[in-house]
Each structure stands twice: as structure tokens, then as C-alpha cells.
């Protein structure tokens, strides 16, 4: 492939200390995962009857799905709303989503008691179960993402027919992806509708809606965050205009989210359940530092236009969002504190290994496929030309 690689393709050096560190972390994670498969959950995790869901469900799955929300958000913005200026970031966003969902899927497989039965929801139907719906949506959406992402591979391989075919089906595919994402992003919130012992600071019948709105907000923040990282690592140009546009959208989404969430907390009287304990502190950090503060930063034009502030605010939003998912699925439960659950080093090793594997795969994908190459805009442009259309810094 090297001989026809476009000179404008992103330059990625693989032989770096960073890469080798990732490889090492993946090796550790894979070894621990193998141990978990051989010996079971009790031998490797600190889960118990009191805390049946821990770090893997809380972070790898519930937070992982949220962090992968950039894919459907950007696909909607570019393909449906036709906002062409965001096209350069659509592919990296879809790639991140794709890798994120693979991570989620592997996380689920490792977390369920009998991994080899992961296919059971396909044949044993139980449509009253939120988990059943999440399982189906994740499976289907993973397939959609694989198809969407495949475009960059076909382009790289210069398979004009497939490229054109993808262009034909991309709109229905994107709409299917958005629908599936809407469903399971909100369903991850619905999972906890049946667990009212969750702290009133997080439990509400609006959980599905709040999860969906925040997913869109996280998606926007993730794309900003990634663009900065990619710019640094892959020496890609940063298009500040694109990013500040996304930041403005993020402000709207997060203001809406916070308004609904706090209005609901006040209207149902749950806000007065706030106490100065660990959960109270988590709530303050999540909503204050992780949501209100970055939204304030981003709503000031001068700060929004400064790369440093923009990056900082996006990072805070992501941190706040991850904390929100962890709080809703793990830390907001009184049992977690009564039992005193803290993940075992092996649980951490697997989670860190999964994230490292995703980062590594991102790096490889950028090197070997046309991730940072934009689609040709006009349908009349022959498919092959677009392969070289690398988006450049302005």
C-alpha cells in the first residue's frame, strides 16, 4: 500500500515511546482479561452481592457509550443538517465512536458472568427489559458504525465501486445510526428507572431524556477534545472556526440540560435531599466543575476563541459527563459506600488496557486509512479523487 499512499496522508510515527507504553498496557489488560475468563468474576474483581455492577459497567459501558456519542452527533450535523464546515471532523468522530463501541462491547463481554452467552438476547427475546433493548441497539449500531467507517478503508484501497455504493446508502445509514443512538443513549438512563434506591440527586423519571441530551453535549465536547489531541499527535491542522462553532452548540445543549435537570430537582423537591457527604460532594463536582463552569467558559466569546480555554472547557465537560455516568450507575447507590466497593487492580488493568487498545487502534487507523481525508462534496466528483483531499490547517 505504501507505494500509492498519498503524500498528504497524515504523518504518523508508530515507533514512539507513547506507542510502546500503549502496547504494554494492552498486553497487561489482555493478560488480566484472560485470567478473568479462566477464573471468574469473583477471583478477579471486587464485585459482590452488595455491589453487583462496578467499574466495568460504570466506566467501560455506561460512560463509554456516552463518550462515543460524537459519532451520531456529528453525523447528524453534517449529513442531515448539511453544515458542511464540520465535515472535516466527521470521520474522526465516527472512528472514535466505532472504537468506543468496540470497547463497550468487549467491556460487556468481560463483565457478564458467562461471556460465551453474549448472543443470547438475539434468540431469547424479552422486550420488557431495558437491557434487552440496549443489547440490540448496541449490536445494530456497532454494525452501522462499522459500515460508516468502512468508507475510509475503501477510499484508501481505491475501490471506487464500494466508495460510490457507500455514498448512495450513507444517508439512510446515518438516519438509522441516529435513531439507534437516540434509543440506547436514553435507554442507558432508563436502566436505572427501576432502581429508586439511587440517590435522589440522580434518580428521576427524566433519566432517559437527561441521558440523551447530555450524550449530544458530550459528543460535541468529545469532538473538540479529540481535534486538539489529533492536532498535537498527528500534526493535523486545527480549524478553530469549526471548533468554536461546536462549542457554541455545546453551550446551548448543556444549558438546556442543566435547566431541565435543576428544574426537575427543584420541582420534585429532590434538591433539598442534598447533604454534605461523599455523594453531595460528587454532585457538586459533577454539576459545578464538570458542567456549569465549562459552560460559563464557553459562553464567553473571548475565552471560547482561545485554544487553551476551549480545550480546558471541553476536558472539564468530558470529566463531568464521565462522573455523571459513574454517579448514576455506581457511586450514587448507597450500597456502594456501605459495602465499601473499590475496584481491584485487575479491574483497573482491564479498563486501562481497553482504553489503550482504542487509542492504539485510532493511531493505526489514522496511519493506514483515510480518516482525516474529507469526502468530496459534490456527488459528481469521482470517488477516487477524494482520497487525497486531506483537510489542511487554515
Amino acid at each position: 500500500m505504501k507505494s500509492i499512499a498519498d503524500p498528504k496522508q497524515a504523518e504518523v510515527r508508530l515507533n514512539t515511546p507513547g506507542t510502546w507504553l500503549l502496547v504494554a498496557l494492552v498486553v497487561v489488560g489482555v493478560s488480566v482479561a484472560a485470567l478473568r475468563l479462566a477464573t471468574g468474576l469473583g477471583a478477579t474483581t471486587n464485585l459482590s452481592d452488595g455491589v453487583p455492577w462496578g467499574l466495568w459497567i460504570g466506566f467501560d459501558v455506561v460512560a463509554g457509550v456516552a463518550l462515543a456519542a460524537g459519532g451520531f452527533t456529528l453525523a447528524a450535523i453534517v449529513y442531515i443538517f448539511g453544515l458542511e464546515k464540520y465535515r472535516p471532523v466527521v470521520r474522526p468522530a465516527i472512528l472514535t465512536a466505532f472504537l468506543g463501541y468496540i470497547l463497550v462491547a468487549v467491556g460487556i463481554v468481560l463483565d457478564i458472568g458467562r461471556p460465551y452467552r453474549i448472543w443470547h438476547p438475539i434468540v431469547f427475546w424479552q422486550e420488557h427489559s431495558v437491557m434487552f433493548e440496549v443489547a440490540w441497539c448496541v449490536m445494530l449500531y456497532l454494525s452501522v458504525l462499522a459500515l460508516e467507517f468502512s468508507s475510509s478503508i475503501w477510499e484508501k484501497l481505491r475501490l471506487a465501486r464500494l466508495v460510490n455504493f457507500m455514498r448512495m446508502i450513507i444517508i439512510p445509514l446515518v438516519i438509522l445510526g441516529i435513531t439507534l443512538s437516540t434509543l440506547h443513549q436514553s435507554s442507558l438512563g432508563s436502566l436505572f428507572l427501576i432502581t429508586p434506591e439511587l440517590s435522589p440527586l440522580w434518580y428521576t423519571s427524566l433519566l432517559p431524556y437527561l441521558f440523551f441530551i447530555s450524550a449530544v453535549g458530550i459528543g460535541l465536547a468529545m469532538v473538540i477534545f479529540e481535534s486538539f489531541i489529533s492536532a498535537k499527535v498527528f500534526k493535523q491542522g486545527l480549524e478553530m472556526k469549526v471548533l468554536t462553532g461546536l462549542a457554541r452548540a455545546a453551550v446551548f445543549v448543556w444549558v438546556g440540560y442543566l435547566a431541565i435537570r435543576f428544574w426537575n430537582l427543584i420541582a420534585t423537591g429532590r434538591l433539598w435531599d442534598f447533604t454534605w457527604n461523599a455523594q453531595g460532594a460528587l454532585f457538586l463536582v459533577e454539576t459545578g466543575v464538570g458542567m456549569v463552569l465549562p459552560v460559563l467558559i464557553l459562553s464567553i466569546a473571548r475565552l471560547r476563541n482561545s485554544p487553551g480555554w476551549l480545550f480546558g472547557a471541553a476536558s472539564l465537560l468530558i470529566g463531568g459527563a464521565v462522573l455523571n455516568r459513574l454517579n448514576t450507575s455506581l457511586l450514587g447507590f448507597p450500597n456502594t459506600w456501605q459495602v465499601g466497593y473499590f475496584p481491584s487492580w485487575m479491574e483497573f488493568a482491564v479498563t486501562i488496557g481497553l482504553v489503550s487498545a482504542a487509542l492504539l487502534a485510532f493511531k493505526l487507523a489514522v496511519k493506514y486509512t483515510a480518516v482525516f481525508a474529507a469526502y468530496a462534496h459534490k456527488p459528481s466528483t469521482p470517488g477516487l479523487k477524494s482520497a487525497g483531499a486531506v483537510v489542511e490547517a487554515e
Binding site: L37, A38, T39, G40, L41, G42, A43, L47, S48, D49, G50, P52, W53, A76, Y79, I80, F81, G82, D111, I112, G113, R114, R117, I118, H120, P121, F124, W125, Q126, E127, H128, S129, V130, M131, F132, E133, A135, I171, V174, I175, L176, I178, T179, T182, L183, S186, S187, S190, L191, L193, I194, T195, P196, E197, S205, P208, N335
Partner: protein, 265 residues
């Protein structure tokens, strides 16, 4: 009709015959126990102890300490949260009353454990091929026309097996006949939308370790409310997205035309 159990805490002598009978019938292994602050062993329900007698020292109305022996186990809810939570239908509520479990279907996601309002399902964490474990209401014995092992064993008839509505009438009768003996409440008659295991007690239920914040509405309704909207959400999202796409790309085409016209001009 639906079978049920009425457990009269005031009749229980704490002999734990039920606990042993349950282990024997279900062939459950003994557990390694240790001295604990509790008067009873093992300390609580586990994957290998499906029914358990909890010892509680609580002052009665006159202020004198009394022993209360509380037989605990799955409530076999009429509309069980665990059943609605299970993605593969491994848990089922049967016509007869028991909530049964099919280990061959279960994939071990543990959503049932998270969902059960009474924290009943346990997991065989020590196994590499784990299963969910909880009281089965001796569904196998019921199918054979027998009563559950615990009820069969109970010397004082503290565990009574019968039709649910008859047992409720019986419980109300006991409360009326000896009002001094009971708090005027049948735990399980309405909890979580009603359960198949109901309790009478001489001291308030919260003093006996019962959850008193259990909703009286069935728990599955909460998630079903969200799930039942899904078909409309699918249609709605898909329609709005398709419509938006159509309008915008049309507008762009027209826009492009007018721009090119302008350019010509």
C-alpha cells in the same frame, strides 16, 4: 390460583428448621461461617443460603425486649422487577406463584440483582461459570402437588402455604382476633404491587430489617413506561431526520442554482 406463603413472625421460634430443609431439598452446600455480631449463622442470605432466619432483639410495646425471628427469602413478587429486567427471560413468574430461574438462558449480566427492590438475587461469584441463585418457592415440589420444603418443615406453622387471597383473609383474621399481638399491617400485601410471600409481625417492620420505602406500585411499570414509547421514538426520530435532510438538501440545491444564476449575471 396463585399460591402464596404467610409468615407469622410472632409464631417463629427461631429453630431454623426451614433453613435446613431448604438446603436439603435444594442440595445447597454448607457455608464456611465465622463468629459475628449476629446471633445467627450464616449471617445473611447468599447464593448458597436461599432462606435465612434473622434474629432481632426489639422492645415490644410495653418496652420489654423481645426476640423476633424473621424468616427471609425471595418475595416472589406478583409483578417482579427481576423478571422485567432480565434481557433473556431467564427469570419467569409462573401462574402458580413462583418466580423461577433458568440457568441455561442466563448470561450473568446481573441486572436482576440491581433491579430487585429487596436485593434478593445472589450470584455464585466464586464460580467461573456463575449462576443467579435465590429461593425458587420449591416450584418443583409445587408442580408435584406438594408444599414448599420450608412450610412443610415449620413446627409452629409460622410459615403457612395456601391461596394468596385466603392467606390475606387469614392474616386479617389473626390481627382482628388478637390485636395486641400484631402491628396492624400485612407486609407484602401491597409492597411492590403485591408479593406472594407476606408477613405478620408483633413489632414495626422497619425494626425487623424490612424495607419500608418499597413502592406500592409495581416496579416494572417504571421501565415499561420508557420502553413502550420506543416504537414512536423510532418513527419520530427517523421521520424528523429524513424530513430535515430532505428540506435542507432541497434548499441547498435551490440555493446553489440561484448562486450560479447570480454568478452568470
Amino acid at each position: 390460583m396463585a399460591k402464596a406463603l404467610l409468615i407469622d413472625v410472632t409464631r417463629c421460634t427461631g429453630c431454623r428448621g426451614c433453613q435446613v430443609a431448604c438446603k436439603q431439598w435444594n442440595e445447597l452446600p454448607g457455608e464456611k461461617t465465622s463468629v459475628s455480631t449476629s446471633w445467627t449463622n450464616p449471617k445473611e442470605l447468599s447464593a448458597y443460603t436461599w432462606t435465612h432466619v434473622d434474629f432481632r432483639e426489639v422492645p415490644n410495646r410495653a418496652g420489654h425486649p423481645t426476640w423476633n425471628f424473621v424468616h427471609k427469602r425471595c418475595f416472589h413478587c406478583l409483578e417482579p422487577a427481576c423478571v422485567s429486567a432480565c434481557p433473556v427471560g431467564a427469570l419467569q413468574k409462573t401462574e402458580e406463584g413462583p418466580v423461577t430461574y433458568d440457568a441455561a438462558r442466563c448470561m450473568g449480566c446481573r441486572y436482576c440483582m440491581v433491579a430487585c427492590p429487596f436485593s434478593i438475587p445472589k450470584f455464585t461469584w466464586d464460580s467461573a461459570q456463575p449462576v443467579i441463585a435465590k429461593c425458587t418457592f420449591c416450584a418443583d415440589r409445587l408442580a408435584d402437588g406438594q408444599e414448599p420444603a420450608c412450610a412443610k418443615t415449620c413446627l409452629t406453622n409460622a410459615i403457612q402455604f395456601g391461596e394468596r387471597d385466603e392467606l390475606i383473609a387469614e392474616a386479617q383474621g389473626r390481627i382482628q382476633a388478637t390485636p395486641g399481638r400484631y402491628v396492624n399491617y400485612i407486609y407484602g400485601k401491597d409492597e411492590a404491587g403485591g408479593t406472594s410471600v407476606m408477613y405478620l409481625a408483633g413489632v414495626p417492620f422497619d425494626r425487623l430489617g424490612f424495607k419500608t420505602d418499597i413502592s406500592l406500585e409495581p416496579y416494572p411499570e417504571r421501565t415499561w413506561e420508557a420502553l413502550s414509547k420506543i416504537p414512536w421514538e423510532v418513527l419520530g426520530v427517523a421521520a424528523v431526520m429524513s424530513g430535515t435532510w430532505w428540506i435542507i438538501q432541497r434548499r441547498e440545491k435551490n440555493g446553489a442554482n440561484s448562486i450560479s444564476k447570480k454568478a452568470k449575471r
